[in-house]
């Protein structure tokens, strides 16, 4: 017994002395050993690593511990007995190199079952230095690593600071977003088109740590039929179950989900397997729709635990200068021509518009203006024509609609169509009548009534022949 303990102690000491991070996972992917070099490299104490399960997934990390454990996870092939190598990417405290070359050694029992995987991380390596025979394994790891990085990049824009506006309405919206973020309740974001409902919903999902948010599945409700909804949601749920993550489903335009889709979603929500959080965007209140019998009452109430109403841009005109500046600086951030702001004249013109398309319309206008701007500030001349036209139109009273005489107007159209048919039929009235789908006598009658019987009004060859 003493000899076994001594041997185990020596083994531990051997790994402890190693400058390379070394760790061992059991067959349940739980860390059962890690040396000091590992704890120093990942910046976490051993107590937080021991027993933690490593999942081979990207972007479903909520805490630093889960970021680290998902990064340390060997590829699934290692647990099936295949020795493999790869690179481990771990976002680390400043100064430490984020990449390490990893060697995963499966540890098998006498019955050839894998009972664990020993991982040894050597100093950083580039894919080019990896062995040729492991090229495929490396590319799989590279993809895994890329997914982690892209997920973080994708979620970066969704933070509360991006919802600019100092108006009371926006201050309230921000408070509600914070509440929704902390509560994990199902939430509906209501607002007119172009009011950035999706941006708000994604901000709620991203929470305070965008890169560490749970997996998100956006679904465009107008395009979903019941079958597609069921298969997509079930596949997503399976993926989340495998990584022990809590899924979030974002129902875009939930008010336009067909009744069959609503029933499908409802039955999934009622099932015991469902543990997803639902975020929805809609133009109109789901509860109001349910009262009008246009929406499932139960689904409407389930989704509307929290309701965030976004104001239209016209209701928060005081935010317009700030929004314009924010959009302009986003343009600057893409590189290229740098602009400092708007002239007072241009801002005044922008403020006077009705902005039926809300923030999205404003973004389009500012993008166009930035592309046109010749100087360092956007002037009235840089604004798109339609903005200036609206301002000019506002300065003049609208012209009254001119009335028409319907019969006369329709007769004009009929005359045009008959003439075209006659031209196509090269003046043959029987063929023209067939083209028009009317009997020949009726065509003849209409020709007389419309005054088309004279030769000059019927068919003429495009190039008249010259008399010899």
């Amino acid at each position: 017994m003493a000899r076994t303990r001594t041997a185990a102690h020596q083994l531990v000491r051997f790994f402890e002395d190693s400058a390379c991070p070394v760790y061992l996972l059991d067959d349940q992917r739980r860390i059962v050993f890690g040396n000091t070099a590992l704890t120093e490299w990942v910046g976490l104490p051993l107590e937080q690593l021991m027993g933690a399960r490593c999942d081979y997934c990207a972007g479903d990390d909520q805490t630093r511990q889960r970021v680290v454990t998902s990064a340390l996870c060997p590829p699934p092939e290692a647990f099936q007995g295949a020795r493999s190598t790869g690179r481990i990417y771990c976002p680390l405290p400043a100064g430490a190199p984020p990449h390490r070359r990893a060697e995963f050694l499966p540890v098998a029992t006498a019955a050839a079952d894998t009972c664990g995987v020993l991982a040894i991380l050597s100093p950083s390596a580039t894919p080019e230095t990896d062995e040729r025979g492991q090229a495929d394994s490396v590319s799989v790891h590279a993809l895994h690593e890329l997914l982690q990085k892209l997920t973080a990049e994708l979620r970066r824009p969704y933070c509360l600071d991006r919802l600019a506006g100092s108006s009371a309405a926006m201050a309230r919206v921000r408070e509600q977003i914070q509440l929704a973020t902390s509560s994990q309740a199902h939430t509906v974001v209501l607002g007119p088109p172009g009011s950035h409902r999706e941006q708000v919903a994604r901000t709620i999902h991203a929470g305070s740590q965008p890169s560490a948010a749970e997996p998100l599945l956006p679904l465009s409700c107008p395009m979903m039929d019941a079958e597609l909804l069921r298969t997509t949601v079930q596949a997503f749920q399976r993926r989340c179950d495998a990584s022990d993550a809590t899924p979030t489903i974002l129902l875009l335009d939930a008010d336009q989900l067909a009744m069959e889709g609503q029933m499908e979603l409802l039955s999934w929500l009622r099932s015991a397997t469902c543990r997803a959080r639902l975020l929805a965007t809609a133009r109109q209140s789901l509860i109001t729709l349910a009262e009008q019998k246009q929406y499932s009452r139960e689904l409407a109430f389930r989704l509307s635990t929290l309701v965030i109403e976004l104001p239209s841009l016209a209701e928060r005109r005081e935010d317009l200068p700030l929004l314009c500046q924010q959009l302009l600086e986003e343009h600057n951030a893409r590189g290229g021509q740098q602009l400092s702001g708007f002239t007072a004249e241009a801002l005044e013109a922008l403020t006077s518009l009705p902005w039926l398309g809300n923030v999205r319309e404003l973004a389009d206008v500012v993008r166009d203006a930035c592309a046109r701007a010749a100087g360092t500030r956007i002037t009235l001349q840089d604004l798109p024509d339609r903005v200036r036209t609206v301002n000019q139109t506002a300065a003049h009273p609208a012209r009254q609609d001119e009335p028409i005489v319907l019969d006369q107007f329709l007769a004009e159209i009929e005359r045009e169509v008959i003439q075209r048919a006659l031209r196509r039929a090269r003046g043959n009235k029987a063929q023209a009548a067939r083209l028009l789908g009317v009997p020949r006598p009726r065509l003849l009658r209409r020709l007389t009534q419309l005054g088309l019987t004279e030769p000059r009004l019927t068919w003429r060859p495009s190039e008249p022949e010259e008399d010899s």
Binding site: L147, L154, L217, P218, P222, M223, D401, F409
Partner: protein, 140 residues
């Protein structure tokens, strides 16, 4: 116009999509590079997009998706991925892909989605129809 713009290196997916969309009145327009695809989409922004995912264009594709959705949040974008790239499905969906097809032999769900999405897009008007429409009073 009911149109699907496909961006892929060969015509493998386009052929399968034409077959899957046969009879739906949707035109499949092929492009071989992102700039061509972007230009085609700018010319016909009502069109749906189907972008091929390859091992070497994951990053670019995510950025293209973000770019299109910035310009047109309602744009219908599907991703055509090889089976080996299936791991990217959820990232691409989060980036804005409405559907990720993993085999040219299984385009039924994508075809249904496209037909539903494009049903509200009017078919291409004839020049005569446009001229007539232009004569109608009280237009925009």
């Amino acid at each position: 116009m009911r149109q699907l713009i496909v961006c892929e290196k060969t015509n493998r997916w386009a052929v399968a999509l034409r077959w899957a969309l046969h009879g739906s009145g949707t035109r499949v327009y092929e492009t071989r590079s992102w700039p061509d695809c972007w230009q085609a989409w700018r010319n016909a922004p009502d069109s749906a997009l189907a972008l091929q995912l390859r091992r070497d264009n994951v990053t670019d594709l995510v950025r293209h998706l973000t770019c299109v959705r910035e310009q047109a949040p309602q744009a219908l974008i599907a991703v055509l991925a090889e089976r080996e790239m299936r791991a990217c499905e959820w990232l691409l969906r989060e980036a804005g892909a409405l559907h990720v097809a993993c085999s040219p032999g299984d385009l039924g769900p994508l075809a249904r989605l496209l037909v539903r999405a494009l049903r509200d897009v009017p078919p291409a008007a004839s020049p005569e129809g446009l001229a007539l429409r232009a004569r109608l009073p009280w237009g925009d």
